[in-house]
């Protein structure tokens, strides 16, 4: 079955940026160019045409950081609903964090996740395995087997490895399997009891704060350990100016570090918490205007490699609690694209660079064979109407959860069609 995406502007970062058609056969990209016709010639079935006139055609996005909640928290999200949300937001590949129940610290959990993902038939799912057994921070998980079963990185996300010796050993051991080691940088002692950024707003609301230093001391530790071990270190959801500065400096010294930021961290400040808004409660917390500026500079100069969602679904009743009790997290798969496109409007990133931060770059960070429209690649493609305005309506999200702080925002840029492996998995209604 052939598909021809006609008449759009193709942006395949570093390769193509201009008017072109995309021809897909047997689930793969055959060619990208002007006025394409199906290569099968006479007698072959006519290709299905997807009209992309006035739209951009991009490699499917790759999310380095999502919580699909299955197994264990299916009332918040399942692999089925999470990947449905992903493709609606243009993400054709999703790396899912291991803080499920049970924790993804062994191959049977990894295999279960992959099987669920295959059955769901939406986005590709790349599990991230745990660093330590049960993510308890003590003994290493069976990292080699996790790799063999299909994990693409390791992380104790949400329960960061506090013991620096264990972290060092994990980094060393992961080298054997060429796995990136991800850290959610948070000194749990410094952050103890905190539920929002420590600053003027936490002072006014009387809420315990999480200082920027809680992130930064762990960024510093991890960079030192990466230098010591030569590991592939990936820093998740950086939120502070100090973190960006340290990563920039480390990269200039040749340390093998990559980093991601999340759309909420460059779109909102601590002020969003006022009124004890639990929808604006996430970890790391929303910081300050200065931090947002630093994140934008980091994206612009390449210090920050990728934009990831940290999609963290929570049910209504989870969030309808006192602020200090409510869980951290926001859904993000369906709002990441328009929020990222605001960076283009502001001149922080070119359109091509913005697309790269969502596709080519994250694929490179985890060395996934994704995020490109090169001939022979899996036909993971997203068609986007850059001019379409829409209002974020939580009731219309594909995710099982609705915990977004962006409800009611008028945003620009909408996914119209998503293909995974040459199959249309999402079409805007």
């Amino acid at each position: 079955m052939a598909i021809l995406i006609k008449g759009g502007r193709v942006i395949d970062p570093g390769r193509v940026n201009g008017p072109a058609d995309v021809l897909i056969e047997q689930g793969r990209i055959v060619s990208v160019g002007q006025n394409l016709v199906s290569s099968r010639g006479r007698g072959a079935a006519h290709p299905t045409i997807i009209d992309a006139a006035g739209k951009v055609v991009l490699p499917g996005f790759v999310d380095l950081h999502a919580h699909l909640r299955e197994p264990g928290f299916e009332y918040k999200e399942t692999i089925q609903t999470g990947t449905a949300a992903a493709v609606a937001g243009g993400f054709t590949s999703v790396c899912c964090m291991p803080n499920t129940n049970p924790v993804n610290d062994n191959q049977s959990v990894t295999e279960f996740i992959l099987e669920r993902a295959r059955n769901a038939g939406n986005a590709h799912v790349f599990p991230v395995g745990a660093i330590t057994k049960g993510s308890e921070g003590n003994e290493l998980a069976e990292i080699g087997e996790l790799r063999k079963a299909g994990c693409v990185a390791i992380s104790d996300d949400g329960r960061p490895v506090i013991n620096s010796l264990v972290m060092r050993r994990a980094m060393e051991y992961a080298l054997v399997f060429d796995l990136p080691v991800i850290d959610h940088c948070e000194d749990l002692h410094l952050a103890e009891g905190g539920c929002m950024h420590e600053g003027i707003v936490s002072t006014q609301l009387g809420l315990p704060g999480i200082p920027a230093a809680a992130e930064e001391v762990m960024v510093a530790r991890n960079l030192s350990l990466a230098h010591l071990t030569g590991a592939r270190l990936h820093l998740a959801h950086l939120s502070t100016a100090g973190s960006v500065r340290m990563v920039r400096e480390a990269k200039s010294r040749g340390i093998g570090v990559t980093a991601e930021v999340c759309p909420h961290h460059f779109s909102l400040t601590e002020d969003a918490v006022r009124g004890y808004n639990t929808l604006a409660k996430m970890n790391p917390p929303l910081r300050t205007w200065e931090d947002i500026q630093a994140i934008k500079e980091g994206l612009s100069d390449g210090t920050i490699d990728a934009i990831a969602t940290d999609h963290a679904p929570h049910a209504v009743q989870d969030k309808q609690q006192e602020f200090a009790e409510a869980p951290f997290g926001v859904v993000g798969l369906e709002t990441a694209l328009p929020l990222t496109l605001t960076l283009v409007d502001e001149g922080v990133l070119s359109l091509e660079a913005a697309v790269a931060k969502l596709s080519t770059e994250p694929a490179r960070v985890f060395r996934l064979n994704k995020g490109t429209l090169a001939p022979g690649a899996d036909a993971d493609v997203v068609v986007v109407d850059l001019e379409a305005y829409w209002e974020v309506d939580p009731t219309r999200l594909r995710s099982r959860s609705r915990n977004t702080p962006f409800a009611g925002w008028k945003v620009k840029g909408r996914v119209t069609t998503t293909l995974v492996g040459g199959r249309v998995v999402y079409e805007a209604v």
Partner: protein, 307 residues
């Protein structure tokens, strides 16, 4: 004139005029407590529910007496009697109470923001009787009332608030109240007890008690939460008392005629020396006495706003 909101959740959200209105209304209720029959019919037929989900003696008693002296029907839930809250969200509990036609709900809750959440979700008026470290608006109103009774003018008045500001809802409410009325507020305590960016609320921060006291017209001592020892906020009660305890000698650093306040309960000999508690400068018992009149004023003004 009346209050703009149906609730009293914070001092932060009140205007200076609203503060003055509450204080002036309290003046007229103060007289009631001196009568032989301490009752007026202002809230007859109204129901006030005290929902106290954290231990409290004086605030709870004070609200209860205030409501009774206004002739309201009063019910009080305290932690021991509130099996109703088990497994139920605060909002659901409150909605059930509201369904029984409560006009005013007075809430004391350990979580910052609890009163605000309730106020948003209910049609009844909500009075914040203390929410976590956030605010304790009626305590600040009592403190203002007490100072006013001593014929102090707020503009230019130098008030030193001493102790664990970071974990004090009384301090936050007083900082807003005093700065709104033009007083000069100082926060005095070790950096471990001063919250982040406090100066942005218009407060001058002092880490040395002697410097903070110099020239002060009013000293508000905060209760040291003894259970916080071990949280690395201060080494020992003994050392805290040595560096941050208000003694008769230190009192001399303040302006002559200085008034000493404390929201209670007092740790005698810890944050404040017994001689100071019992001295002529102390208005601590006035604070307790004025609690009823001020809370009567708040209940009265809110019940009017609600009809």
């Amino acid at each position: 004139m009346s209050l703009k909101q149906k609730d009293l959740v914070s001092i932060e959200s009140l205007s200076a005029d609203e503060l003055r209105l509450i204080l002036e209304t309290a003046d007229s209720f103060k007289e009631v407590s001196g009568r032989e029959i301490k009752k007026v019919p202002a809230l007859r037929g109204k129901t006030v529910v005290n929902l106290f989900l954290e231990p409290s003696t004086r605030t709870r008693t004070s609200f209860e007496l205030a409501a009774k002296r206004l002739s309201a029907d009063v019910i009080t839930f305290s932690p021991s009697s509130s099996s109703i809250v088990k497994g139920e969200t605060l909002l659901d509990t409150a909605r059930n109470i509201e369904a029984m036609q409560a006009d005013i709900i007075v809430l004391r809750h350990p979580a910052a923001g609890a009163a605000e959440t309730l106020a948003r979700g209910l049609k009844s008026s909500v009075v914040n009787a203390g929410d976590g470290w956030h605010e304790h608006p009626t305590q600040a109103l009592v403190d203002l009332f007490t100072l006013r009774e001593k014929h102090l003018d707020f503009p230019g008045l130098r008030v030193a608030i001493v102790g664990d500001i970071a974990h004090s809802r009384v301090a936050r409410s007083n900082i807003y109240a005093l700065t709104k009325l033009g007083a000069e507020v100082r926060a005095v305590g070790p950096p471990t007890m001063i919250p982040s960016a406090l100066d942005r609320l218009g407060v001058r921060v002092y880490h040395k008690l002697d410097e903070g006291l110099r020239g002060a017209n009013v000293i508000m001592m905060l209760r040291l939460q003894l259970e916080r020892q071990g949280k690395a906020l201060f080494p020992t009660i003994r050392e805290y008392s040595q560096f941050y305890g208000l003694t008769p000698e230190r009192l001399k650093l303040a302006e002559p005629g200085v008034w000493v306040m404390h929201p209670g309960p007092i740790n005698r000999g810890v944050e404040i020396a017994p001689e100071v508690v019992d001295s002529f400068s102390s208005v601590i018992l006035d604070q307790a006495a004025n609690g009823i009149a001020v809370r009567m004023a708040v209940l009265y003004l809110l019940s009017g706003a609600n009809t």
